[in-house]
Amino acid sequence: MSTRNVLLQAARRGGSLFGLVKKLWGHPKGRLGLILVSLLVLIAILAPVLAPYDPYDVTQRAEKGLRPSLQHPLGTTITTGQDILSMLIYGSRVSLMIGIITGVILAFLGALMGVIAGYVGGFADTLIMRVVDILLVIPTLPLIIVLTNLLGRSYFVIVLVFVAFGWTGLARVIRSLVLVLKNSNYVKAAELAGASRWYIMTKHILPGTSHLIIMNTTLTCAGIMVAEAGLSFLGLGDPTAISWGKMLAEAQGGGALLFGAWWWILAPGAGIFLAVFSFMRIGIVMEEIFNPRMRASSSIYKIFKHLNNSYLDEVFRSMEDEGPEEAEGQPISTAPAPEGGHD
């Protein structure tokens, strides 16, 4: 099957957001992901109602280092006697907020850049792809650390930095897809009919890429949540908020390892795991729905290695038989081509 047909078919398989949710619900694994994500969102919203204690209350001298019990289902911290379950519930707010907000903004920015590079082409394309090349070689984590140092440690800055440096992966994928869509018959027909570039871009090209964008967003959300936990662990998150990464850092600093307070380490770890896992689930299932020829989760790990994920690139490459044109300046791909196309 030729690349173009596969891509066009995949583009057609995308639909409205509602249709997508319905499809996800119909898939057993997708349903699990959906339930988990909505549960997490509910917990984050209802945190003040759900939390049995005040997680910011550091005056519980008598309650220090309690093992999990009925009063404190996940125990308390050794240093200040904070209730860990309450901290965990409040911590979900930071993870989800950063993950979802950044993921959505990244989706818009990446899609915009990709569509401009692919559809407008010419100088805009060259410029955007050069910027992508440059951002790819700058080490992400050190850069984020430098920028939070310079601009202050607030979640606004963290989201800003994630957005500024995370859009490259999606932009590259969308660009390749747009290059194919651009030459499809319906876009050519619209051009002949005298439609403006803007009209074609918003009415024909963007809808065709929507499925990739949505899928990428869920995976990016998961990736950002891991990255945020890492930043908070290094003490670079917002100092006033409770987050899972910061809980782990406090646990290590407070001697949880030394005094054997396993509950203090396990709880935030489980939180991170659950949040990332459920977002990933949705992403993987979407991939199965849109591209049934791909085996689930092949090389999905890639996305989390760096913020700029090359994962979708690979999904894409797996659909290529002859391969769409790559700009000459683009580095030769070193990633192995996943299976597909021959099954």
């Binding site: 070689v137 140092n149 601009l151 795991f273 999905i300 000459e328 990633a335 192995p336």
Partner: protein, 332 residues
């Protein structure tokens, strides 16, 4: 054609390096009217005039007394002599000297991690591809999902807790005397290996799964190629087909990804080094961050970027050499 391609890639790498270098120069100058502001010592009980003199002195010391353009020229000239600037630490050590001191310790971690994860990953990935759809394959699939959702630093904490504090198999924190007492004796090497065990384990976990997954995909992709079917049809044995036809070709993309992984590992080791207090580049960077030592931070950044650019370039060139099927030049 090949030579022109090589020259083109090298020139492009140099261009990218110049852009990164320029960014690196301007990032610490972001958001403040007086970039030297970040270098002034606290005023303390000094009078305004005294403090003004100290300020002037600091400006001259760190080269802020000339125009930004001249500063930039000076910066580039310094780089040409492999001078990344002077750290703000006491004694004003050179950034390159500090990096040189810490780099080997990070390389110990990253190279060992790479070797371990690559060899286990290759083995397990081939197995999963060979036994596709059986339990080995399913195990790999589940392991990838789990390992992705568990941040490496959490694994590091758990390992430190369980193997370090509970079972006392390995030191849970790096021995602070390890670096100072290292003298290439067998005992010293043993101490290093012992201390490096947990950091390497926590870093290798993700790497093993990652390499297994890509080996598996790569092997399966090659297995479907015509020449493998031909080899089978010729009646060659399974092992011959596996080693001579499939693995050799499947190795190619993996071999070329090693360069990038090393640069990624050096930058990515920051959190793991922090967990175990391992005295490498990562902790050096965090120390620089907590003391607002901008020359040191930007020096490390530039070093890591240059490493990535170089690794990228070598990878691209190797790819052309290793894979004769790759056509270079305009693909359009």
């Amino acid at each position: 054609m090949k030579r022109s391609y090589v020259i083109k890639r090298i020139l492009y790498a140099i261009f990218i390096f110049f852009v990164v270098l320029t960014l690196n120069f301007f990032i610490p100058r972001l958001g403040v009217r007086d970039p030297a502001e970040r270098y002034y010592p606290p005023q303390g009980s000094m009078s305004e005039i005294e403090y003004e003199i100290i300020k002037q002195f600091t400006r001259a010391q760190y080269g802020f007394d000339v125009s930004t353009f001249q500063q930039y020229i000076r910066y580039v000239r310094g780089l040409a002599r492999l001078d990344l600037g002077t750290s703000l630490r006491s004694g004003s050590p050179k950034v390159t000297a500090l990096i040189g001191e810490r780099l080997p310790w990070t390389l110990v971690l990253s190279v060992t991690t790479l070797i371990i994860s690559l060899s286990i990953g290759l083995l397990f990935g081939t197995l999963a591809a060979w036994r596709r759809g059986r339990w080995q394959d399913t195990l790999l699939l589940n392991a990838s999902t789990v390992s992705v959702a568990l941040p490496a630093f959490f694994i590091a904490l758990m390992l430190s807790f369980y193997l370090g504090f509970e079972l006392e198999l390995f030191p849970a924190y790096t021995n602070p005397n390890m670096v100072a007492q290292f003298d290439w004796s067998w005992e010293a090497i043993q101490v290093v290996l012992n201390n490096a065990a947990l950091p390497i384990m926590s870093m290798a976990m993700g790497g093993i799964v990652g390499y297994s997954q890509s080996t598996r995909n790569s092997v399966i992709a090659v297995t479907n190629e015509d020449f493998v079917i031909t080899a089978r049809a010729k009646g060659l044995s399974h092992t011959t087909v596996l080693y001579k036809h499939i693995l050799r070709n499947a190795m190619l993309p993996l071999a070329t990804s090693i360069g990038m992984s090393i640069s990624g590992l050096i930058g990515g080791a920051i959190i793991i080094e922090q967990v175990f207090n391992w005295q490498g580049m990562g902790t050096l960077f965090l120390e620089a961050n907590s003391t607002n030592d901008y020359p040191l931070m930007m020096g490390i950044m530039l070093f890591l970027s240059a490493f990535a650019i170089l690794a990228n370039l070598i990878t691209e060139l190797f790819y052309v050499i290793l894979d004769p099927r790759v056509t270079v030049g305009d693909k359009r």
